[in-house]
């Protein structure tokens, strides 16, 4: 009997994939929002204009909700290396455990010590202390991103390791491991993508208030700065960071690049498919519309460069889900392009002073906020499906990595448990975030009328 129920590797992959995708919905917003909050707090200190402080207070609450869900869904991630990927941890724990521990020691201690101060501590810390807390939280969240990307980069492009006497991996050079060139490219690309998410969410809430006619000063601030940051970050995600990411994949994982583009036959003047569906059985791209030479140029710098096709490689080295990889990559690229167009147009309209009067554009900006989440998720799916069939590229197969002692039923059981738990968490998160958005930023006029103890209770 051969069904997915007999394939434990599948369930371990699905559980890790599901829990990490869900988890990353929250840190991508906190990493993106963190620098908005720092910037507004800085403006508040410089100008003394209370609208910036209101923005900080409002967004710190949204940040806090995301941070809390990020924490509770993040703790299982580290433990799943041991519970579900025990054989992988035995093999590579000496290397990747270092950065997972560093993430806790260097990044999370910083972030978690100050996040409470950022959300509730404005009174206790004073303006400068509050600003320092905002910086500490932003640094902590970005540092944690770096350590995780070093860990992932080691799996994409292992460097700085040595093979020990017992066959497992150890660290040969900590600097080579931490300064993996892959990690720099991926960090730049990933963090800017997080800023795109942050900018779209800030813009969407600005658009929501503008459409509702609420909080006009705050709405203008969010719209102006959200669209501008959104444009810059969307541009930088595509070029140079996305371009560099594709080049590094082309150089180190040519099979992955071929699979991402659905290229079965290699050749020079390789094109980029704008439209087309990979047909793995027939080994071709169905109904393709291609830009000739574009892939050769983007990946290797010349239109005539030779690009390998999948057929140049043995089939057991192909990524094991070509279609999903291809669609993930192409939809991500398409969304990224649309982000540039939308935010470029919105920035232009803002510059012409027509942003807030165009209800259609405001509606589009409001409804656009889920798409950066989708693009971020698809980017990660491209990275992780592209790495298959390897867990550590060229060193260790995914099928060798999962916990052999954990039975299938146990893995399915915990996956179902996570599904239920995360569904409830998602509902709570949306409900409470909706409430905060409904309450909105506090207007200064209200704060001056009410009594001091009430005000204190509101602000703290």
């Amino acid at each position: 009997m051969n069904s997915i129920f007999n394939d434990p590797g599948f369930w371990h992959r699905l559980q890790f994939g599901f829990t990490i995708v869900y988890h990353y919905l929250f840190p991508q917003l906190t990493m993106g929002l963190a620098w908005f909050i720092v910037y507004w707090k800085w403006r508040a200190l410089r100008t003394g204009d209370d609208k910036y402080n209101q923005a900080v207070r409002f967004w710190a609450k949204i940040f806090g909700l995301n941070f809390a869900v990020g924490v509770v869904t993040g703790i299982p991630m580290e433990f799943q290396f041991g519970t579900n990927w025990a054989d992988f941890s035995k093999y590579a724990g000496g290397v990747i455990g270092q950065t997972l521990a560093m993430e806790g020691m260097f990044a999370f201690f910083l972030e978690s010590a100050f996040v409470g101060a950022l959300i509730w501590g404005e009174k206790r810390l004073g303006p400068r202390g509050h600003f320092a807390a905002a910086i500490a939280v932003a640094l902590g969240s970005w540092l944690s991103g770096y350590f995780i990307l070093v860990t992932n980069s080691f799996m994409q492009h292992p460097v700085g390791y040595q093979i020990e006497a017992n066959g497992s991996l150890g660290i040969a050079s900590m600097s080579a491991y931490l300064l993996n060139p892959w990690a720099f490219v991926q960090f730049a690309h990933n963090q800017l993508a997080a800023v795109v998410t942050g900018a779209f969410v800030v813009t969407a809430i600005g658009a929501f208030y503008a459409l509702r006619g609420l909080h006009p000063v705050q709405a203008r601030l969010y719209l102006r700065e959200g669209t501008f940051v959104g444009l810059i970050a969307s541009l930088l995600v595509a070029f140079p960071t996305g371009d560099q990411q594709a080049k590094i994949v082309g150089n180190h994982q040519p099979i992955t690049l071929a699979a991402m583009e659905g290229k079965f036959e290699g050749g020079s003047m390789a094109g980029v498919a704008l439209i087309g569906q990979p047909n793995v059985a027939a080994q071709r791209l169905d109904n393709p519309i291609e830009v000739p030479g574009a892939l050769s140029f983007l990946a290797y710098g010349h239109f005539g460069s030779f690009v390998h096709g999948l057929n140049d490689f043995p089939k057991d080295q192909w990524p094991d889900n070509l279609e999903l990889l291809y669609y993930s990559f192409h939809i991500m690229i398409t969304l990224g392009t649309l982000f540039i167009v939308l935010m470029g147009f919105a920035t232009l309209q803002n510059w012409r002073g027509k942003l807030e009067s165009s209800r259609l554009l405001l509606w589009v900006l409001l409804l656009a906020f889920p798409y950066p989440y989708i693009a971020n998720t698809l980017g990660w799916m491209t990275a992780e499906f592209g790495r298959q069939p390897w867990l550590i590229y060229g060193l260790f197969h995914t099928r060798d990595g999962y916990s052999k002692v954990v039975s299938n039923g146990d893995a399915i059981f915990t996956l179902i448990g996570f599904t239920g738990l995360y569904f409830v968490i998602g509902l709570l998160f949306l409900g409470l975030t909706g409430r905060e958005i409904g309450k909105g930023p506090k207007e200064p006029a209200v704060a001056t009328i009410i009594s001091e103890p009430e005000r204190e209770a509101m602000l703290v």
């Binding site: 609450k61 941070f67 809390a68 509770v72 869904t73 703790i75 580290e78 433990f79 290396f81 041991g82 519970t83 025990a86 054989d87 941890s89 035995k90 093999y91 724990g93 000496g94 290397v95 990747i96 455990g97 270092q98 521990a101 560093m102 993430e103 806790g104 020691m105 260097f106 999370f108 201690f109 910083l110 978690s112 010590a113 996040v115 409470g116 509730w120 206790r124 810390l125 202390g129 040595q162 020990e164 497992s168 150890g170 660290i171 900590m174 002692v405 954990v406 146990d410 059981f413 915990t414 448990g417 738990l421 709570l428 409470l432 409430r435 103890p453 204190e456 209770a457 509101m458 703290v460």
Partner: protein, 349 residues
Amino acid sequence: MIAIWYAVVSFMLIIYVVLDGRNFGAGMLQWFVAKTPEERRQVIAAIGPLWTWHEVWLLGFGGTLMAIFPRLMASAFAGYYLALFLILWCLILRGVSIEVGGHINDRLWQGYWDFNFVLSNLLLAILFGAAAGNVARGVPVDAQGNFSMAFFTDFNVRGHVGLLDWYTVSIAILAVVMLAAHGATYLTLKTEGPVHDRCEIWAKYLWVAVVPLLAVVLIESRIVRPDLPGRALFNPFWWIGLIVIAASAFTLLTGLTSGRELRAFVGSSFLIVGLLATGAAAIFPVMLLSTLAPENSLTAYAVASSSTTLIRASFWWPIGFGLAVFYFVFISRRYAGKVSVRRDTQGFY
């Protein structure tokens, strides 16, 4: 080198248990020491804005364990698969109930999350206690260094043991009572008004209850592990642990009787540090004893990473630890003193 890293990894877990243990304790007592919604929010405010910081110690422990003792981490986490997920889910539930409860000022809503809060903290104390019991007793490690086990088998402590047996259950009970006592001592320090007065009484009764339970567990441990303390008599950490236990028990006792709250809390924290450190020193170098065959046991020397990897880790760990202490000292001064219902409710905003 490996012995030092064993001490470091144990130290991280012990810090976690002391810090979050007080939250478990305070959390499970919430219903008993706080009657009105405001009083209950006071208990949550006392656990306060640093609960995620406490949980980072668990993450730091997990990562360090993976880097330094990868084969132990892999065997233990996979072997305790379902039990570990119960812990993770309880941690999720606890975190959610802290964060969510205060967002809506409604009795029914808060009552529901307070219930989850109390329940998840109680379960966490039981689960961590049973886990400690499993480490002390040993698990059915096979010749390949792997194990998997049922929640319970015949409640015996030899051979094919389950997660729960008479020994691990009694340690779980001890953990619940002791962490409740620790939490009550902490709440006495951090709160004022009726919560403070109730906690003061609870702390005294609970610490009195700890004494016979601890005596029973010690006698049981002698039966379950007749080989202990054995080698530990030559381990300086074991003796240091005993001295810490004696000194902190005295501090705790004088603190409780004289009403000096900080003194009692320091004593209570170090008493738990001392007990766990003594236990960790006693079992060294065996990290997971096999109940099937002693030669299957996983020792620190057998499961550690190579010495070059350990040396690389020795460069960054002290820096990370120093920074963590620095942040903590900086931020905890901002939260010093008793929580006030008006200022620190962490809700109704």
